[in-house]
Structures are given as structure tokens and as C-alpha cells.
């Protein structure tokens, strides 16, 4: 965790997370998140060599179900929530330029 002291570049990480921040938000979060990262540095005091990580407290493995066709969500109900739709499909801005 030695990198932590260098702090995080909030503007860059926000871009990775697809969040447009205002300058005020960036400055506010920078201070708050630096403080939180400083707090979590206490984990450095712990020796975890040889300790297995826990991803789920009650792990279950290889959960399968029969490969059967079930009922899907109602198409109209789903499209009704779309901010923009056409011909029963979600409409999005152009992704690929000609």
C-alpha cells in the first residue's frame, strides 16, 4: 500500500468510472478520499502472508441449473423504461463514424 501516500488522481479515476465531475466536486472529493485512503492504510500494520483472500463469506461453487428455456421479462415492460427507444429497441447515439 506504499503507493497510497501518493494519493489518487480523482479526476482521472472519475473519468475511468464515467463520471463527469465539476471542479468543485473534484476538489471536495480529493480531500475526502485522501482522508479515507489514509484511514485504510492501517491495514499495512497487518501481516497477511499466507492468508487466503475471502471473496464470499459463504462460498458456493459450480452452481448450475438445467439448460431450459424459461420466461423472459415482458418486452414492452422493459422498453417502457427506456429513455429513448425506436422499433422496440433501445436508441443510442452513433458509436462508429463513417
Amino acid at each position: 500500500m506504499s503507493n497510497a501516500t501518493q494519493g489518487m488522481d480523482v479526476g482521472y479515476v472519475a473519468h475511468l468510472a464515467r463520471l463527469e465531475l465539476t471542479a468543485e466536486e473534484t476538489a471536495l472529493f480529493q480531500g475526502q478520499l485522501d482522508q479515507i485512503l489514509h484511514y485504510v492504510e492501517q491495514l499495512n500494520a497487518l501481516d497477511v502472508a499466507g492468508v487466503e483472500p475471502t471473496a464470499h463469506a459463504i462460498p458456493v461453487y459450480n452452481v448450475f441449473r438445467p439448460d431450459e428455456v424459461g420466461r423472459s421479462l415482458d418486452h414492452d415492460d422493459v422498453i417502457a423504461n427506456a429513455p429513448s427507444a425506436a422499433n422496440g429497441q433501445f436508441r443510442v447515439p452513433k458509436i462508429i463514424d463513417q
Binding site: M1, H15, L21, F29, I36, L37, V51, T54, P83, S84
Partner: protein, 487 residues
């Protein structure tokens, strides 16, 4: 017949079975109470009165036709992150304003099958991120015991609705204490079931390795009835465990003796900064349990003090991935941009509140290249140490007694400017989610400011029976849970 809304689920269930009242009468009393009080409390985000009365009529008709279930005709308030088909599900976020759930969560299907009345949607911290319901973007909720105080969070609307008799019981969710803490702050009972007990299908995901749905109610027995209704294996949630049907309510006897039970007292849980009044109420409760015949043993949870650091790495990491789905494409808010990237950035900027943004940024950072090992992997390893501590403790006792929170409910605005200060309040509840155990909160007294205090009873994984037994015995022999706010 008046004030049916003030009775417990169990009392109402008996009355319905005996033909002494109808579900329509209960729902009418609850709706009248909401009408009178919710302007002050702000528990509900949305309420469909006509639908509630229709469901109540259907429940009465089903009973007349021979149906019976303890939940038949009982109105339940649903935290606004659990999907109920045809109702809004906003997670108290602007990004989901106007969203209408196209399907039922599994817990909702089970409530419907039992004949419960799905009453309305109750407020919460946005996407369950918070401990005071002050991070809610679509409503403000007050503590029924003192309107200047927070109801706790994130299931603040659930706890406030039950404490104000605006609901007979409620479903909340608990990722780091979000059921137990508001239950404690509002003088209710709340249960976080063992990870894997209750299906999360239809629960808007916050931190998938921690989230559990559970009840908030007026008594331990009421929570047991709700648990029996919602627990059980569901192929739609691959983390749900295939176990025999539970009979928690039936296992609660009338004999409050705790003889033969060993209850652990973790010295690390009486933390620095704990309000002496809270500590006294909890220590008195421990002595009360000793008086009921329990043997009190000292246990140690040496790594619990790292829980906040571990929790705010793991929970934010998982949240940053889970909340990526809110991108303005398929549902919810959209702010257009020249390309999808700009659309995402603008939509999420306008749709998420500050706490959600903070956590997404933190979670993205701890998972990012170069920092993953230092933060996320390290936190997962310390999580193992915390889990091992509980495993060791439960070799020495049947359940652990502890406070739920370091202080009773505080005034609104007291902690909103300092996120870390708010996080630190979760120190006594987050270890249980990290370890995957079950725990409940039951009222055990009041602080001198008149706000309720909660006793936390922690059980080993899948040993809800033990914590419900202790909580029920405590409740039967004390009167705290019967005290109500004055109106």
C-alpha cells in the same frame, strides 16, 4: 375497531385467523396513520392506496375461501431498492426516477404467495449508501422518536415506518448494518440473515458479497414470521444456499429461560468513543441474559477493528462494478452527449448524488491496475482474519452480545460533511457482513436524550435460531420493545 396499525404482526395474524378483523380494516388503519403522520416522518416515497386496498380485499377473499398463512393480509412496506412489478423502484436516486419495475424480486413473489399486502415504497440512502438516510435524493425521513434526529440508514424509511405504526413490518437490506442500525435508532427489531439465506434476485445490487434482505418489525416473533416467509433457496440467486425450509417462528417458545446457552461478550466491541449510556444499556442487557440462565463468556474478535477499512474497500469495489449498469441506455435518466462516453459521464454526473459518486470513485481506484493488490486483495485477506475470529468465537459460545452502534440516533446534519466520521459508526455492524454471519438488533433501553438503544445479538452462519431465541427471551422479559413514540 381502531388503531389496528399499532398491533404487532403476530397479534394481527391471530386476529385475522380468529375472524376478529379483516385485512381491509388493517390496511385502512395503516393508511389513515400514514395520512396523519407521514408528512412529518417522510418514510414513504410512493404509496398506491387503491392497490393496497385491492390486495387486502383479495387476501380477505382468499381467507374466506380457506387460505391461511401468518402473512395473509398483513401490510408490508418495501425498501425502495427491492423490485415489485408495476411499482417504482428508485433506490432514492435521481438516476432511477420514473423507473417502473418490470418484475418481482423473489422475496416479493414469496410475500405475494403468502398473501401479504405490498403497501408502498419506503425511503433509504441512495443505493443503500449511508447510515442516516440523509443521502436520499428523493425524500427526507425523520426519526419518529424525535423529528430532529436521523432515523439511521440505509433502511431508514423501513425503520421509521414501523416505529411510527405506518407499517406493520418492512423489508430492508443490510450490506454493512443497514437493517440493524436503523432498527436500533428507531426502537425496532431488525434481522440481517446469514449470507445465502435470502435470495437477492430483484434486489438492486450494492455490494454483492455482503448484501442481504431482511425484516424490520415490532417484535422478534414478527421478524421470525417474515424470515420464514422470505428465506429459502432460489435458483435465480446463485449465492443462495439450498437448505430445508425454516420454522423460526414455531421454534420460539413461551419459556424465556436461556439456561444451557453460552453467550459471548467481545471486549473489543466496547470501543473507544462509545457513548457510556449505550454501553450501560447493553451491559445491563447482558446481565439480564445472565439472569435468564445464560452463561456469559469472554470472547475476542481482535481483527474487528479493521472492519471499516476492509468494508469500505470491498463494498466500494463491488459497488463500482454493480453501478456501472446505470449508464442512461436502457432505463432511468439520460443526459445526451455527442457519443456514448459523453452520455454516460453526463448521465451519471446528473443522476448520482455525492456519496454514490465518492464510493464509485473509491471502488474504481482500489480495483485499478497497480492498486488492486495493495487495496482490494489485501482487504480480502484481512476479511479472512475477521471471519476466522468469528469462527473461533463461535467455538466458545452460541451467540455474541454487543452494541449495534457506538451512539444512539444523532441530530440531522451532524455528520453529513465528514464521510469518514459517518463510516466509523458502522464499526460494530460491518464485521458481521464481512464474516457472513447473522445478527439481529432488539431494543434494550434509551439514552438520556430519549433515543432508543439497540442490543446486537450475533449468530454463527445459519444459526438464526439461536439469535432469535435469545432476542425473544430478552424481549419477553423486558418491556423496551413495547414503548412507542408519543404523538
Amino acid at each position: 375497531m381502531a388503531d389496528l396499525n399499532t398491533l404487532t404482526l403476530s397479534e394481527l395474524s391471530d386476529k385475522l385467523a380468529a375472524g376478529e378483523c379483516r385485512s381491509v380494516d388493517i390496511v385502512n388503519d395503516v393508511l389513515a396513520c400514514i395520512e396523519e403522520r407521514d408528512g412529518r416522518i417522510g418514510a414513504y416515497l410512493t404509496l398506491d392506496r387503491a392497490s393496497a386496498l385491492e390486495q387486502a380485499q383479495a387476501a380477505d377473499a382468499a381467507r374466506a375461501a380457506g387460505a391461511c398463512h401468518p402473512m395473509l393480509g398483513i401490510p408490508v412496506a418495501i425498501k425502495d431498492l427491492i423490485n415489485v412489478k408495476g411499482q417504482p423502484c428508485t433506490c432514492s436516486s435521481k438516476i432511477l426516477e420514473g423507473y417502473v419495475a418490470p418484475y418481482d424480486a423473489t422475496v416479493v413473489s414469496r410475500l405475494r404467495a403468502a398473501g401479504a399486502v405490498l403497501l408502498g415504497r419506503v425511503n433509504m440512502d441512495e443505493f443503500a449508501m449511508g447510515s442516516s438516510t440523509e443521502n436520499a435524493a428523493l425524500g427526507k425521513t425523520s426519526n419518529p422518536w424525535n423529528l430532529d434526529h436521523v432515523p439511521g440508514g440505509s433502511s431508514g424509511g423501513s425503520a421509521a415506518s414501523v416505529a411510527a405504526d405506518e407499517a406493520v413490518c418492512s423489508l430492508g437490506s443490510d450490506t454493512g448494518g443497514s437493517i440493524r442500525q436503523p432498527a436500533a435508532f428507531c426502537g425496532c427489531v431488525g434481522v440481517k440473515p446469514t449470507y445465502g439465506r435470502v435470495s437477492r434476485y430483484g434486489l438492486t445490487a450494492f455490494a454483492s458479497s455482503l448484501d442481504q434482505i431482511g425484516p424490520i418489525s415490532k417484535t422478534v416473533r414478527d421478524s421470525a414470521i417474515l424470515l420464514d416467509t422470505i428465506c429459502g433457496h432460489d435458483p435465480m440467486d446463485s449465492s443462495s444456499i439450498d437448505l430445508p425450509a425454516t420454522a423460526f417462528a414455531a421454534q420460539l417458545g413461551s419459556d424465556p429461560s436461556l439456561s444451557g446457552m453460552k453467550l459471548g461478550l467481545p471486549k473489543e466491541y466496547f470501543v473507544e468513543g462509545m457513548d457510556p449510556e449505550v454501553e450501560k444499556a447493553v451491559r445491563d442487557a447482558v446481565e439480564h441474559c445472565r439472569g435468564l440462565g445464560a452463561e456469559i463468556v469472554d470472547v475476542s474478535l481482535p481483527n474487528a477493528k479493521y472492519a471499516i477499512a476492509v468494508y469500505y474497500i470491498i463494498a466500494t469495489a463491488e459497488a463500482s462494478a454493480n453501478l456501472a449498469r446505470f449508464d442512461g441506455i436502457r432505463y432511468g435518466l439520460r443526459i445526451d452527449g455527442k457519443d456514448p462516453i459523453e452520455l454516460y459521464g453526463r448521465t451519471r454526473a446528473a443522476g448520482f448524488g455525492p456519496e454514490v459518486k465518492r464510493r464509485i470513485i473509491l471502488g474504481t481506484y482500489v480495483l485499478s491496475s497497480g492498486y488492486y493488490d495493495a487495496y482490494y486483495l489485501k482487504a480480502q485477506k484481512v476479511r479472512t482474519l475477521i471471519r476466522d475470529d468469528f469462527a473461533e468465537a463461535f467455538r466458545q459460545c452460541d451467540a455474541i452480545l454487543a452494541p449495534v452502534t457506538p451512539t444512539a440516533a444523532y441530530r440531522k446534519g451532524e455528520k453529513t460533511s465528514d464521510p469518514l466520521k459517518m463510516y466509523l459508526d458502522d464499526i460494530l455492524t460491518t464485521p458481521i457482513n464481512l464474516a457472513g454471519n447473522c445478527a439481529l438488533s432488539v431494543p434494550c433501553g434509551f439514552a438520556s436524550n430519549g433515543m432508543p438503544v439497540g442490543l446486537q445479538i450475533i449468530g454463527d452462519a445459519f444459526n438464526e435460531e439461536a439469535i432469535l431465541r435469545v432476542g425473544h427471551a430478552y424481549e419477553q422479559t423486558t418491556g423496551w420493545h413495547r414503548q412507542r413514540p408519543e404523538w
